[in-house]
Amino acid sequence: MTVWHLDPETIRRYAQGAAPPELAASVEAHLIACPGCRDALAAHVDARRAAAIWDVVADRVDAPRRGWPERALSRLGVGEATARLVAATPTLRGPWLLAVASVLLLTALAAQADERLLRTFLVVAPLGPLAGVAVAFAGGLDPTREIGLAAPYSALRLLLIRTAAVLSVTVPIVAAAALALPGSPWRAAAWLLPTAALTGAALALTARLTPVVAVAVVAAAWVLVTVPIVVAGHVDAAFGPGAQIFWLGAAAAGAVWLAAARDIVAINLGRTG
């Protein structure tokens, strides 16, 4: 049983947060076992300071666990709230990314054995990131889509955040697969500007269509235009220097149109009306 008690001066210093660490530890060990000293301490505690301390404790206990993507984004200077929205993007889940990586890697490896599969890779490569944008807004994969649609958060901002997140993860995957390609080095990067152009076109179409439909339209147009060209052996017509300038222009035009139509985009993020 406790036979001694804290002296008033120690209680006062502890209550003000002025006790050195070793004294504070000793005081706390005693307080656990001594109701009388706890009562004496209570009279000296500043209610506002105690509430502020409690807030900090509660916040640390409740604070959402941050996964590695959120921690990485924070280190890059991305705000805590934005990092959380990125982490909840459906496309960034393991199984989907694994599927994209597998398809592209297999195509790239197959191209080692057969030159014609190199053309297939160039056609397929932009579709990976593009499909990722669609998946990011697909109702079946985003469980909170309906709640999100009724929330005031800027739809355009959400669209851009998720698209950037998808591209920042899928483009390196495609790039890694491209390194396994045979032939000249420029071909390893020939899909990059078409990817930017197709994404820009899909985002611009969200002013008229839902993101999933917009991506489907752009992907279908891409396949219909490029497949006959590369099958005929005119790879440069779709991926050569002249074509790259065209894709760059298309990407810029998509961005300009998206900026101009930003109010309309807000309506189409998965809405059925």
Partner: protein, 286 residues
């Protein structure tokens, strides 16, 4: 001024007409949409939640026109919405999920946002499971999580689509308590196909059937419509619109009673049944 004003709203999906010239007015307190599955309740609530635009007609929410982008954002800042099939990121804890929705509600400053998340978690009675993953919760608890996120930011308009569906009787009672509390000082519009919920909670109801409004008024006014049209008998009356054997072995008949029938006081369920069945017969006859 009414918080919700719906005038002559029509909405079709392909060849299916979900709403056909619906009117609705709702102010502070709880207003219930009552109707069978597929009546158009969810379509109407999605419009009130600014998720869906009407083909024709007008919707005014909190004095603003949600078809205008700037007004729509302002309405959403004062709106709480629990969809019929509220989805969750199942790997999130309760706190993490509500926190995520709080970000979507533009609460980007971490400390006050977390304070608000704690407040609504406490309101929904979820404090003991705040740190639990949503996939480990029962259906009733998940529904509470849905209600908690809808209460973020103390909204002036709360839209709840079938809030008590799938709950056991005790959970339903607790949920009613929470909704009743939420309805004090704000406008709540909810849908249900359960007359018990509407009787227990709503000051005003609208009966919707096949995309049309059949009745708007108080539960007492709806119940009064069935006065003199409910009777008991030892057999199922052939002319009754609906009849069923009760616990004491007699038949409760609803419809046009024969002369000398043993009339009994109607319930809201009787009146609802009369209204919907009569409407169904009109459509079939046409």
């Amino acid at each position: 001024m009414s918080t919700v004003l719906v005038n002559g709203v029509t909405k079709s999906f392909g060849r299916t007409t979900a709403l056909d010239g619906v009117d609705l007015e709702a102010g502070p307190g709880v207003t219930g949409l009552l109707g069978p599955n597929g009546a158009g309740k969810t379509t109407l609530l999605r419009m009130i939640a600014t998720v869906l635009a009407p083909d024709r007609g007008t919707v005014t929410l909190l004095g603003r026109d949600p078809s205008r982008p700037e007004d729509r954002t302002r309405v959403r800042r004062r709106l709480g919405y629990l969809p019929q099939e509220a989805g969750f990121h199942r790997g999130f804890t309760v706190f993490e999920f509500v926190d995520y929705v709080a970000i979507l509600k533009e609460m980007t400053d971490r400390r006050p946002r977390h304070d608000e998340v704690r407040r609504v978690i406490a309101l929904a009675g979820l404090e003991p499971v705040s740190g639990k993953r949503i996939r480990a919760l029962s259906g009733g608890m998940r529904r509470r999580v849905g209600l908690a996120q809808a209460l973020l930011g103390d909204p002036g308009l709360l839209v709840l689509d079938e809030p008590t569906v799938g709950l056991d009787p005790e959970q339903r009672l607790r949920f009613r308590e929470m909704i009743s509390y939420a309805g004090e000082g704000r406008t709540v519009v909810l849908s249900s196909h359960q007359t018990e919920d509407v009787t227990a909670l709503c000051a005003r109801i609208a009966v919707i059937h096949q995309g049309r409004t059949l009745f708007v008024g108080t539960p007492a006014e709806l119940t009064a419509q069935a006065a003199g049209r409910v009777w008991t008998d030892t057999r199922r009356a052939p002319a009754a619109l609906a009849a069923w054997r009760t616990g004491d072995g007699t038949f409760r008949n609803v419809g046009d009673p024969p002369a000398g029938a043993d009339l009994i006081p109607p319930t809201l369920e009787d009146a609802y049944l009369l209204l919907v069945t009569a409407s169904q017969r009109e459509v079939t006859a046409a």
